[in-house]
C-alpha cells in the first residue's frame, strides 16, 4: 500500500474538482462526495499506518516523478512515508472526515454549500502534500496551499467587509512567515545544494552544515515561518480574527491541523533545530510568552469562538515550549490530543452557535445544559481535557511538557512555574466559558430561547466520537512512572528523531516520587483554576464592566492597535507617497517617456528618408567614412 501513497492526496483532489466544478448542479450531494473523498483517504491512511507500525519499519521515499530538474537543481515530487507523516495523515483525514460530516449539517442551506466543500477538500489535499513532501519544496507547496485555503475559508462569507478584512490579515501575516520559510530554504540550498529531508539529515549529522551561526540563521528563518502559520507572538493576531470563517473551518484549519503545521515542520527539520541551542531557547521563550499572553486575553473575551481561538494560540505556545526543549515527540503528542479536544470544543461551540441563531456572545447565553444535553456533556469533556484533569487526554500531554520543562537546564524550574501559571489560566478561562454558557439562567431573551434546540445527529455524532477520543487519547502516551515502556507514541515516533535524541545529554530522570508530586501539583492547579472560575461565574453578571488590567486583557493587550500604529499607518503613508511620486511621476512617466522618445525618434528618422538618391548616397558615404574612422581609432 505504501507505494500507493499518492492515493491519499488524490482523493481529496478529485473531490475538490467534482465539488468545485459541479457546485451548482450537485446541491447537497457535494457535501457527501467531499466527505466520501476524505473517508477514502482516511481508509488508505489507516492501511498505511498499519504497515508503518509494523516491527522494524524503515522510512520510505515514494518517488512519483522528477518535479524540477535543471542543472544542479533536482527537486523530486516525492512523498516521505514514515511514522511522523503517517500519524499526521491519520489526524488530518480522520478529524477531517468528522468535520466534513459535521459541516453537512452545519452548512445546510448556505448558498455557497458546494464551494465550501470544494475549498475544504482542497485544504485537505494541500495539508496532505505538506506532511507528505519528502523535501522542503513539496512541503512548501502544501504550506502555501493551506494558507490559500485558509484565506478562502476565513473570507468565505466575503460580502461582510470585516470578514474579508480578517481573511486578508491572515494572508498577510502568513506571508510574513512564508518569507522566513523561503529564506530558510535558500540558505540551506546555498550551503548544501539540496532540500531533500533524508539527504539533509544525513549531511547535518555528518556536520556538513556545522557553522553554528549559519545553522541558527536557518533555524531562525524556519521558525519565523512556523510563527506565522502557528500563530505565535508576534504573528498571532490573525488567528482570533480568522474565527470569521464558518465554525467547522475554525475546528479543522485553525485548531486541529493547519496551525500545527509549524510544529510538524520543526519536528521534520529536527536535524537543524537540534544543532542550534540559541534557536531552541528562542522558541522556548516565544512559546512561553505566547502561552501566557494569549491565556490572559482568553480570560476576558466574551465571544465564544474568540475564547477558543486565544486558547488555541496559548496551547500552540505549549507545543512550542516542548519543541524549545527538544522534546519533539511530546510536542507531537500535544498536537494529537489538542486536535481531539480543540476540534471537539470548536464543534461544540458551533453547535451552540447553531442553536443560538448565529449569536456568538456568551453574555447572551446561559443555562444551555438542559436544552442541549449532548453538546453540553461533550463540551464538558473537552473542557476537562484541556484543563488537564486526569485521566483525560490533556492531562497526559500537558504533564509531559511540564516535566520536560522542569528538567531542562538551569532555568527549567522557572519555565515550569510560568508554564504552570499558563495552565492555571487555561483551566480558569475554559471553565469560565463553560459556566457562563451552559449553567445559570438563559439571558438571550424569549425569542432566542424558543429557538434553542439540540443539533441534528449529523452534528452530534462527530461530537461524540471526538469526545471519546479527547477522553481516551491520552493513553497513547502513558508516562514511564505509571507503567514501564508504555508510552506508545514516544516509541512509535522515536525512529524519526532517533539521531536528535542521541545528541541530548543523558536525561537525568526525576525520581518517581518527584514525578508524582509534580503531577499532584498540576492537577491541583487545574482544580484551583476551575474552582476560581466557579467562584466568580456561578452567578454571572453580564452587565459588569471590566476595569483596569481586566479591561486591558479584554482589549487583547492592544496588539492590533499597536501593529496598526507601528506598521500599518506608516506603511500606508509610505505607499501613498510612493504611489504619487514614484509610480505616477517616476515609473509611469518613464514608461510613457520611452514611448514618446521612440515616437519622436521615429518621426525624425523618417524624415531622412526623403526619396532622393543623391541624399541617400551622401548619407551612405557618410556612414562609410564613419565606419572607417571608428576602425582607425580602434586600431590605435
Amino acid at each position: 500500500m505504501i507505494q500507493n501513497i499518492w492515493l491519499v492526496p488524490l482523493f481529496p483532489l478529485i473531490g475538490f474538482l467534482i465539488a468545485g466544478l459541479g457546485r451548482k448542479q450537485l446541491g447537497n450531494a457535494a457535501g457527501w462526495i467531499a466527505s466520501a473523498a476524505v473517508l477514502a483517504s482516511f481508509i488508505v491512511s489507516v492501511m498505511i499506518f498499519f504497515e508503518v507500525s509494523a516491527e522494524g519499519f524503515k522510512s520510505i521515499d515514494v518517488h512519483l516523478y522528477d518535479f524540477i530538474k535543471v542543472g544542479k537543481l533536482d527537486i523530486a515530487f516525492e512523498f516521505r512515508v514514515d511514522q511522523l507523516s503517517s500519524l499526521f495523515l491519520l489526524i488530518i483525514t480522520g478529524i477531517g472526515f468528522l468535520i466534513h460530516i459535521y459541516s453537512i449539517g452545519y452548512m445546510k442551506g448556505d448558498v455557497g454549500f458546494g464551494k465550501y466543500f470544494a475549498f475544504l477538500n482542497l485544504f485537505i489535499f494541500s495539508m496532505l502534500l505538506l506532511v507528505l513532501g519528502s523535501n522542503f519544496i513539496i512541503m512548501f507547496i502544501g504550506w502555501e496551499g493551506v494558507g490559500l485555503c485558509s484565506y478562502l475559508l476565513i473570507g468565505f462569507w466575503y460580502h461582510k467587509k470585516e470578514y474579508s478584512v480578517a481573511a486578508r490579515k491572515a494572508f498577510v501575516m502568513n506571508r510574513i512567515g512564508d518569507l522566513g520559510f523561503l529564506i530558510g530554504m535558500f540558505l540551506i540550498f546555498a550551503k548544501v545544494g539540496t532540500l531533500d529531508f533524508q539527504t539533509l539529515e544525513t549531511l547535518s549529522f555528518k556536520g556538513v552544515i556545522a557553522e553554528p551561526g549559519y545553522l541558527t540563521a536557518i533555524a531562525f528563518c524556519f521558525f519565523v515561518g512556523a510563527m506565522g502559520k502557528s500563530a505565535q507572538i508576534p504573528l498571532f493576531t490573525w488567528l482570533p480574527d480568522a474565527m470569521a470563517g464558518p465554525t467547522p473551518v475554525s475546528a479543522l484549519i485553525h485548531a486541529a491541523t493547519m496551525v500545527t503545521a509549524g510544529i510538524y515542520m520543526i519536528t521534520r527539520a529536527h536535524f537543524i533545530f537540534s544543532f542550534s541551542e540559541t534557536a531552541q531557547t528562542f522558541i522556548l521563550i516565544i512559546g512561553l510568552t505566547t502561552a501566557l499572553v494569549s491565556a490572559t486575553i482568553a480570560i476576558r473575551q466574551n465571544d465564544i469562538k474568540k475564547v477558543l481561538a486565544y486558547s488555541t494560540v496559548s496551547q500552540l505556545g505549549f507545543m512550542f515550549m516542548a519543541l524549545g526543549v527538544g522534546a519533539y515527540t511530546t510536542a507531537v503528542f500535544h498536537v494529537l490530543t489538542h486536535a481531539f479536544f480543540k476540534a471537539l470544543l470548536f464543534l461544540g461551540s458551533g453547535s451552540v452557535i447553531h442553536a443560538m441563531s448565529n449569536e456568538q456572545d456568551i453574555r447572551l447565553m446561559g443555562g444551555l445544559k438542559s436544552k442541549m444535553p449532548i453538546t453540553h456533556s461533550t463540551f464538558l469533556i473537552g473542557c476537562l481535557a484541556i484543563a488537564g484533569i486526569p485521566p483525560l487526554s490533556g492531562f497526559f500531554s500537558k504533564d509531559e511538557i511540564m516535566m520536560n520543562l522542569f528538567i531542562h537546564g538551569t532555568y527549567g524550574k522557572v519555565f515550569w512555574v510560568l508554564g504552570m501559571i499558563a495552565a492555571l489560566l487555561t483551566a480558569y478561562y475554559m471553565f469560565r466559558l463553560y459556566f457562563i454558557t451552559f449553567l445559570g439562567e438563559f439571558r438571550g431573551g424569549d425569542k432566542l430561547k424558543s429557538h434553542l434546540h439540540e443539533s441534528p445527529a449529523l452534528m452530534t455524532m462527530p461530537l461524540i466520537v471526538l469526545a471519546i477520543l479527547a477522553a481516551a487519547g491520552g493513553f497513547l502516551g502513558i508516562p514511564e512512572v505509571f507503567a514501564h515502556d508504555a508510552h506508545w507514541l514516544h516509541n512509535f515516533l522515536t525512529p524519526v528523531i532517533e539521531k536528535s535524541l542521541a545528541l541530548e545529554p543523558t536525561i537525568h530522570h526525576l525520581s518517581h516520587s518527584a514525578e508524582y508530586i509534580m503531577m499532584a501539583v498540576a492537577v491541583s492547579v487545574a482544580i484551583i483554576g476551575i474552582l476560581l472560575a466557579w467562584g466568580s461565574y456561578k452567578k454571572f453578571d453580564a452587565k459588569k464592566e471590566n476595569k483596569g488590567i481586566e479591561k486591558f486583557f479584554e482589549d487583547k493587550w492592544h496588539w492590533d492597535e499597536a501593529y496598526e500604529n507601528a506598521f500599518q499607518k506608516p506603511f500606508m503613508k509610505m505607499s501613498a507617497f510612493a504611489e504619487k511620486n514614484i509610480e505616477r511621476k517616476g515609473i509611469d512617466g518613464g514608461v510613457n517617456g520611452i514611448g514618446k522618445l521612440v515616437e519622436f525618434a521615429s518621426d525624425k528618422l523618417r524624415l531622412l528618408q526623403n526619396g532622393s538618391v543623391g541624399v541617400y548616397l551622401f548619407l551612405m558615404v557618410l556612414g562609410m567614412i564613419l565606419l572607417f574612422i571608428i576602425q582607425l581609432l580602434s586600431n590605435g
Binding site: E599, Q609, G623
Partner: protein, 460 residues
C-alpha cells in the same frame, strides 16, 4: 554526378521559361509552367543534396565552386521556400504586367545567383553571383511599367546597386592585391594574425558592399523605397529569398576567408548590428503603410541575422539557415494577406479577423513569428542567433539592446493584429477567397509553428 546541377537546371529552366512566353500568351499556361519549373528546381537540388551527402564536398571549375553538405542543404531549403512563394503568388505575379513568363524566368535566373552565392569558392564567382542576383531584381522592381513608383524603385535600386558594385569590386581588388589570389582557401591562409592596412580596408569595403545587399544600416537607404515601390507580388521574393542568399554569401566569405582575422572586422559588424537594429525598428514604428513597415522590419530582421555573421561558430552557420527559412516563410505569409487588400495602411486591416478569419489567423501566426513570440519559429531563430553571438563573446550589452529592440518590434507587428481583431471596419473588405490559396496559407502557417516545435529538422 550531382552537386552543381541546381545552377545548371536554374539557368536552363530560365531559358525554357522565356520560350514558354513565346509559345503561349495565356497566363494559366505560364503559371503552370512557372510552378513546374520551381518544382523541378526543388527536385534537382534535392538530388544534388543526396549526391553530396554520399560523395562529400565537390569542387568544380578549378576550385571556383565548392559544393559542401551545408551549402547544398541550404539550396534545397531555399528552393523549397521559393517554390512555396511561387505557389502562393503565381496568380499575383501574372497580374503585375504583360510579360508574365519573363518574371518567372528572371526569378529563375536569380536562383542561379542564389546557388552561386551559397557555393562560391572564388571571389570572381562571388562577384558574378551577386550581379546575377541583382540585375534581374532591378528589372523586376520596375516590372509594373505603367506605375511611376515601380519605375522609380527600379531606377533607384539600379543606381545605388551600381554604386555598391563599385565598392564590392574595390574590396575584391584590394584583397587580391595583397594576397595574389581569388581563392577563398588561399586568402584564409594568407590572412593570419595581424593584417596590414590595405587588406583591412578591403575587408571593410566588402562589409559595406554586403551590408548594402542585406540592407544593413547605414547602407539601407534604398530598402524602404525599393520594397515599397516594387509590385507587392515581387517584394516578398526580394525581401526574403534574395536577402537570405546574400547573407549566406556574406557568411561564406567572412567565416571562410576572413575567419582568422575576426578581430579586424568584428567591431564594424557589431556597429552595423546596433545601427541596423536601431534604425530598422525605430523607423518602422512611425510607418502608416503596412508594406513600408514590412520593409523596415526586413531591415530590423537583417540586424538579427548579422549576429550570425558576427559569430564564427557552427551554431551561427546553422542558425542563419534556420533564421532565413523562418523569416522567409513568415514574411511570405504576411505579404500573401497584404496583397489581398486594397488599402495597405493599418486601417486596411481593420476588422479582417471578423470578415476573413482564416486570412487573419494565418497572418497573425506569421506576425507572431516575425515578432519572435515563443512556440513560433521566429522565437527560436532569434534565440539561436543570439546564442551563437554569446558563444562568440559578443558584449552582453548588445544582446540586451537587441532584445529591447525586439520588444519595440512587437509594437508595430501587433498593431496589425490589433487592427484585424480589435478594430471594426467602417467599410466591408472584399477579398476573393481562393480555397487553394487558403490551404496553402494554412500549410505555411503550420510550417511556421512546426519549425518552432522541431527546429532540429533544419539544424540537424
Amino acid at each position: 554526378m550531382g552537386g552543381m546541377l541546381g545552377i545548371v537546371a536554374a539557368a536552363i529552366l530560365g531559358v525554357v521559361m522565356m520560350f514558354v512566353g513565346l509559345i503561349s500568351q495565356k497566363s494559366s499556361v505560364i503559371r503552370i509552367a512557372g510552378v513546374a519549373c520551381f518544382l523541378i528546381l526543388v527536385g534537382v537540388t534535392a538530388f544534388d543534396f543526396s549526391a553530396i551527402h554520399e560523395q562529400g564536398t565537390q569542387l568544380y571549375f578549378n576550385n571556383m565552386l565548392s559544393v559542401g553538405i551545408k551549402a547544398s542543404w541550404f539550396n534545397v531549403l531555399i528552393s523549397a521556400c521559393a517554390f512555396i512563394y511561387i505557389l502562393i503568388f503565381n496568380n499575383h505575379i501574372t497580374k503585375v504586367g504583360k510579360n508574365d513568363a519573363e518574371y518567372f524566368a528572371l526569378m529563375l535566373f536569380i536562383m542561379v545567383g542564389v546557388f552561386m552565392l551559397s557555393t562560391y569558392n572564388h571571389l570572381l564567382i562571388l562577384f558574378i553571383g551577386i550581379e546575377i542576383l541583382s540585375i534581374p531584381q532591378y528589372i523586376l522592381a520596375g516590372s509594373d511599367k505603367e506605375n511611376i513608383k515601380s519605375n522609380e524603385a527600379s531606377l533607384k535600386y539600379f543606381l545605388m546597386g551600381a554604386f555598391s558594385t563599385g565598392i564590392l569590386l574595390m574590396g575584391i581588388t584590394l584583397i587580391y592585391g595583397s594576397v595574389g589570389s581569388f581563392e577563398i582557401g588561399n586568402i584564409a591562409t594568407a590572412f593570419q594574425g595581424e593584417v596590414t592596412a590595405l587588406p583591412m580596408i578591403g575587408v571593410i569595403l566588402l562589409i559595406i558592399a554586403f551590408g548594402f545587399k542585406v540592407s544593413a544600416a547605414p547602407m539601407h537607404w534604398w530598402t524602404a523605397d525599393v520594397y515599397d515601390g516594387t509590385p507587392t507580388a515581387i517584394t516578398p521574393f526580394m525581401a526574403t529569398i534574395v536577402k537570405v542568399a546574400a547573407f549566406i554569401g556574406f557568411i561564406n566569405l567572412f567565416h571562410g576567408a576572413f575567419g582568422n582575422i575576426h578581430y579586424s572586422w568584428k567591431l564594424t559588424i557589431a556597429i552595423l548590428i546596433c545601427v541596423t537594429l536601431f534604425i530598422g525598428n525605430i523607423t518602422a514604428v512611425f510607418q502608416q503603410s503596412v508594406k513600408r513597415m514590412l520593409a523596415y522590419s526586413s531591415i530590423a530582421q537583417a540586424g538579427f541575422m548579422l549576429f550570425a555573421v558576427f559569430a564564427l561558430n557552427d551554431t551561427a552557420e546553422k542558425s542563419i539557415i534556420y533564421y532565413g527559412v523562418s523569416y522567409t516563410l513568415a514574411s511570405i505569409g504576411v505579404f500573401a494577406v497584404l496583397i489581398k487588400l486594397k488599402d495597405y495602411t493599418y486601417e486596411g486591416f481593420n476588422g479582417l479577423g471578423k470578415s476573413h478569419p482564416l486570412y487573419a489567423i494565418t497572418a497573425t501566426v506569421c506576425l507572431l513569428s516575425l515578432a519572435g513570440i515563443p512556440v513560433t519559429s521566429g522565437f527560436f531563430a532569434k534565440y539561436f542567433v543570439l546564442t551563437a553571438a554569446m558563444e562568440q563573446g559578443l558584449w552582453l550589452g548588445i544582446i540586451v539592446f537587441a532584445v529591447l529592440m525586439a520588444a519595440i518590434s512587437i509594437y508595430y507587428y501587433f498593431r496589425v493584429i490589433r487592427a484585424m481583431y480589435f478594430t471594426s471596419s467602417t467599410e466591408e473588405i472584399t477579398i476573393e477567397s481562393n480555397p487553394m490559396e487558403q490551404i496553402l496559407l494554412v500549410i505555411n502557417a503550420v510550417l511556421v509553428v512546426l519549425l518552432g516545435l522541431f527546429p532540429q529538422f533544419i539544424l540537424g
